[in-house]
Amino acid sequence: MAEFKGVVQTLAHSYTTPAQLAYAANRVVYSHTERKAFISAVVAKLDPANRFLTFARAGHPPIMYCSGDDRSPQNLMSAGIGIGLDSGDTFNRILEEKTVRLIPGASVVLYTDGVTEARNAKGEEFSEERLGGTPASTFARMRGEIRRGNQGTAYPIHYRFLWRNATS
């Protein structure tokens, strides 16, 4: 994870779009890791002034988009395969870049499968279904369950959970 973060931070200086950055990251990872290693990632670029989010999904769980009203969150999907699974021909051909315009008050949530696949002491997965509601409520639910770690009901997970709220 730390090594990949370094790769992305380095490449981000040279590439301006999420897809271009993902192509380059795939080339680096494919040529420097053993064949059974791969990484899933969402590469996203936020333009806060105009409220545009441009993203490319490389085998990662979808972005959760919450419009800020009472509607349920939507999954933002795009075609793509994991980084390091292919030398580049298939990866570049399939990877799709999408742009969405965030309405005022909307949020986007990026999370890893460490969240949805986390299991508690009973072997129950946190699951995608429990990601529903607002980002704040989901985050609070997760944090609350993690805090109860000593009571046998927690989801002892390593996870990344990031949400960003678009202001008007």
């Binding site: 053993e34 064949r35 290693a37 085998g59 994991g82």
Partner: protein, 117 residues
Amino acid sequence: MEKFEVFRHDIDDISVLNIQGFLDAHTAPDFENELQKLLQEKRYKIIVNLDGLQYISSAGLGVFMGVIEDIRENKGDLKICNAGEKVFKVFDLLGFPSLYEFYPTEAETVEKFKAAD
């Protein structure tokens, strides 16, 4: 530790590995060993039947990637069948259907191999 089992049967020059249970970092070496045995026997037409697979982690997915180049360089292939909805979702999210052929049944997968002969 969750249970994991591999059962093998051969149909002419095609080998079928039926994997059952939980394929994760703990059990991935068992699956990898079975695949390596096939490669040592120079059997490069392989079907992995996921009928009894309940869970697969990234370590399990890595096993597929670890052998595929060797198999295809020897004019073979590894095809996958009988993935349940939950297990297929894991493969699908990572884009595996762009890299491997998936079929609903073992019989259909065998036919695909035979049709390519």
